[in-house]
Symmetry: C2
Subunit: 422 residues, 2 copies
């Protein structure tokens, strides 16, 4: 076990009970303040630690970090240093922030720590390439049951291939960014011709995405074993989806405008290192996978996930409680599959899991499944009902792993839906 | 008409008859030599004009160009200056290279011009986002006839939507890059289970891609009229495709590993300005398109395209002669559609047309169509036959527009297939 993951560790930074960011987490992000341009930071308790300050004041000496590595708009160059270097920085930060450590005096601590109320979180990386998988058996089964045949809900390739497709990198935005309802072509089966309008079936999809810290050359593949070295960490991912646009456009080349108007991520990259203690076995894979998809060890993660929906001017209500451990295909298999044909990966690529639905109706990761395509409207605390998302609604995703009194959380992945533009 | 397009213009640079690069073209690219790191250049005749030299020696003064704008690995920052600035540079280069111009003395000319034999062409841009359309009616009809119903070959959405999907930006490579045959899961309909092997049905797809020079914010749309301001130029695009991998993986989310192992582009960005004289009407669109897809003026381009196949150690043979003018959906419609939902575009995005097939069998833009799914093998000059592409084969795409003795060409888009890696 990494020393940084020791449940006994305490920090000299006060960490409120229930915080997503104890000293065992230390996720990386990009923040700005009224006085600071975007720079890299690490979350602890209610504070962000300014990594530029630590670096410039010799607290990170001996790690071989390039000058200015944290004084950047994105973590791309930092992640490009590789998984071991990122780990070294996290271990050093763990040491520096430990209650037994007095390297930083009171003045230094006051300068280095900025309260979260005073920062604005930015996109942690400039996303190079974005792919989305479809790796939850329950989600694929639910969709297949609703739109195809409940008895043959899963398509023939699903248990052989971690099915995935390419998405749009430019429209991935950070938590807190408001999203305009998309417009597009819509044609319900009973209409003869398509019409152009704002989507009437706007949905969320609860996902977790991993971010890469290495690159390969064209023609190279990454084994399921080597995949761990290329995955630096995770964020929550809301793959907003316009179901009516999707239905009309997606045959034969897949979803396009139904998805690429926006995706929202949580701002903190929770490292795979911080999540090591929460590895669990995934579902048994039957039939046996092809050799290039075989793997050893625990490759799923026990991360509790929830989605809350907050109508304008009302309280939020949790509409979905799921878990990342339900994924049939794990991240190592996803990356091995993506590169088995020689497709090259780059630093700061993002790979999302696909909607994470669990076995029970309350664990379904989209409104489509929760309302079972409109048949079971969801009750809101303000007395209204939802089949899909209304203008003014805010969707908040949260996730955390917890054991031995340690809670490794992601913070919020939040987005409010504004009316369509004119 | 732009002065630079005047068919009467001649350059003091010798331009051989049949060259793709007369003074009326002046496409932009990135090149390196034994002595020079990658920098920006412009093609004329058999030469590349070193834009860094011109800029540093005041030949481009008065254009308001930032220092070092051409001393870069990619044209992204140059294109980010916008279409008007790129036009200004091209107009100035046209003036400087004209036979009546004596601003450059013999010594300057000798330094600025580098013979193409001495340069290696690089990727012209770092591709930010890549999408691929499916805009040739003949191609969509051929594919639908082979794999679905010849009487209902086009899917119901095809004449309403410029169907497209997202592709992989990282694996787009420049002409001349050798490509390893991809491996992957394959399952023919008569097999019970998939197997893992090198693709046995490797194909090319003849396409033209446009590159953007502007950006929009999330939520903004680009009209068909405004699209011209965002499109800086075109390259030839080979969308290599592994048909057997594609067949097993593509339902329901579209092609993925069948495409993302590599795409090849020609190195020179031929500007939309240089192609202005070659605008033509496209096919009539029936039924009428929705208002956001309506457009005025000539939005297709008469660009003659061909694909040659060269077996190892043998002569090449032209297997396809097509034309960019056949596209049912034009580039303005593609960009308007892509952004109508608020999807934001970035500088140096690449948008490919989809396979460009014409009405006659010899104009089909893929081996799949040319060999009609294997029923009509193609004869090679060395006596062998082809249904798909063999190891050792080189595929060369070429394209040019020609009128009034002026030929605006793209140069080669070439790639050799190497055996699969072990």
């Amino acid at each position: 076990m990494l020393k940084s993951n020791d449940p006994g560790l305490k920090s000299w930074v006060h960490v409120p009970k229930g915080s997503d960011f104890p000293i065992q987490n230390l996720p990386f992000g990009i923040f700005k303040t009224k006085y600071l341009s975007p720079v890299a930071g690490v979350a602890i308790g209610d504070y962000v630690v300014d990594l530029v300050y630590l670096h410039e004041n010799s607290y990170l000496d001996g790690l071989g970090l390039p000058a200015g590595i944290f004084n950047q708009k994105y973590l791309n160059d930092f992640f490009a240093l590789g998984k071991k270097k990122v780990r070294d920085v996290r271990e050093r930060l763990s040491e520096l922030l430990r209650d037994s450590n007095d390297e930083m005096n009171k003045a230094a601590r006051e300068i280095a720590l900025i309260h979260m109320d005073e920062v604005q979180m930015m996109m942690p990386v400039k996303v190079q390439n974005y792919s989305d998988f479809y790796s939850s058996e329950e989600h694929a089964t639910n969709v297949g049951s609703m739109f195809r045949d409940p008895k043959n809900a899963l398509l023939p390739n699903w248990k052989h291939i971690p099915v995935g497709y390419h998405g749009r990198a430019s429209s991935i935005v950070v938590s807190g960014t408001a999203i305009h309802r998309p417009k597009g072509q819509i044609k319900s089966p009973d209409q003869e011709l398509p019409t152009f309008s704002a989507s009437k079936k706007l949905d969320f999809e609860l996902e977790v995405a991993f971010i890469t810290c290495g690159e390969t050359k064209l023609g190279e593949s990454i084994s399921t074993k080597a995949a761990d070295d290329f995955i630096v960490g995770f964020v929550l991912f809301n793959d907003w989806s316009a179901r009516d646009i999707q239905q009309w456009e997606y045959v034969p080349l897949g979803p396009f405008l139904a998805k690429n108007f926006a995706s929202t991520i949580s701002p903190w990259v929770v490292t795979m290192d911080a999540l090591e203690p929460f590895r669990v076995e995934g579902p048994q894979q039957v039939p046996q996978v092809l050799p290039y998809l075989a793997f050893e060890g625990k490759k799923n993660f026990d991360i509790v996930l929830e989605v809350a929906l907050k109508p304008e001017g009302s309280e939020e209500t949790v509409v979905c409680r799921s878990n990342f451990k339900y994924m049939y295909w794990n991240v190592n298999q996803q990356l091995a599959h993506h590169t088995v044909n020689g497709c090259n990966i780059q630093v700061a690529d993002m790979y999302a899991s696909g909607t994470i639905s669990g076995p029970s109706p309350g664990s379904y990761g989209s409104m489509l499944e929760l309302s079972w395509n409109g048949q079971k409207p969801l009750q809101m605390p303000d007395g209204t009902e939802r089949i899909f998302i209304n203008d003014g609604d805010t969707v908040v995703m949260r996730g955390h792993a917890e054991r031995d009194g340690v809670r490794i959380g992601f913070g919020n992945c939040k987005g409010k839906i504004l009316p369509a533009t004119h």
